[in-house]
Symmetry: C2
Subunit: 152 residues, 2 copies
């Protein structure tokens, strides 16, 4: 299975807030237009990001802002906020291996540390990348777009 598009949408949202937050009020409709999904999908995502303390959302008046400096929010923070992984385990273990089989009785003990190593490797890499890294690169590509336009 793949990691849900909620993750890339969430990063898209952060980038939009940071890039457009000074000039526009960031509403779920605004974000929905940029991401190209239904506004309710955005609102549900904003609810998750807010619950994780990564953003603030103004009720009534509307408008979303980022709660921390961008370089203090890692991909892992967003992943945790947005991806539903049961019991925080990346690997789904089969539920009831036979207790009357020696292998069935010991498969869990023999495997768990290795699965954790894989999960840890993935999470370590996610913790090493911040939203700022992503946003900087996106802005770099936006600037390249503009410089091409300028030359024409």
């Amino acid at each position: 299975m793949q990691i849900s598009s909620r993750f890339t949408i969430a990063i898209h949202i952060f980038a939009c807030i940071d890039v457009f937050g000074k000039d526009y009020k960031i509403t779920s409709d605004f974000l929905a237009s940029s991401v190209n999904v239904n506004p309710v999908v955005i609102r549900r995502l904003l609810t998750q990001l807010k619950a994780a303390g990564l953003i603030t959302v103004a009720r009534g008046t509307g408008g979303t802002a980022i709660a921390k400096p961008l370089d203090e929010i890692t991909f892992y923070d967003v992943y945790l906020a947005v991806e539903c992984v049961e019991d925080n385990k990346l690997f789904h273990f089969h539920d009831n291996p036979s207790t009357s089989c020696p292998v069935g009785r010991n498969i869990h003990k023999g495997l768990d540390d290795k699965l954790e190593r894989v999960q840890a490797a993935m999470e370590r890499e996610m913790k090493s990348i911040t939203i700022k890294d992503a946003k900087d690169d996106i802005e770099k590509y936006i600037a390249m777009e503009n410089s091409v336009t300028d030359k024409q």
Copy 2:
């Protein structure tokens, strides 16, 4: 989302074949008993592992064997054989970001290399662990069971 239990079941299967292969004919019913799932689930898995060249399955007569030395089969080989990941991308990207928004136009370019880094970190770790590592540890725990029994 979690990685399907097919992955841990597959490793369970390898361990069973290696541990019991000398004394028993390894049928889908035999494996189903140890894993505690329906034999058809096992057969479907065996079909995938066979397609990946990791095992051989005897039609008619029945019986499964491992096609390569256990230390030449990595967790990644099994993962690839058994997990359906569209286009081999761990992250599902939202399909149609707005082309009229600068962020929407550049989110892909700004993000792809970072997502690949995360995926690569996970795959690198999976490639570093072999089925033999898992099976050795399972056998170690089986031996510990027996030594406890002996003392009683």
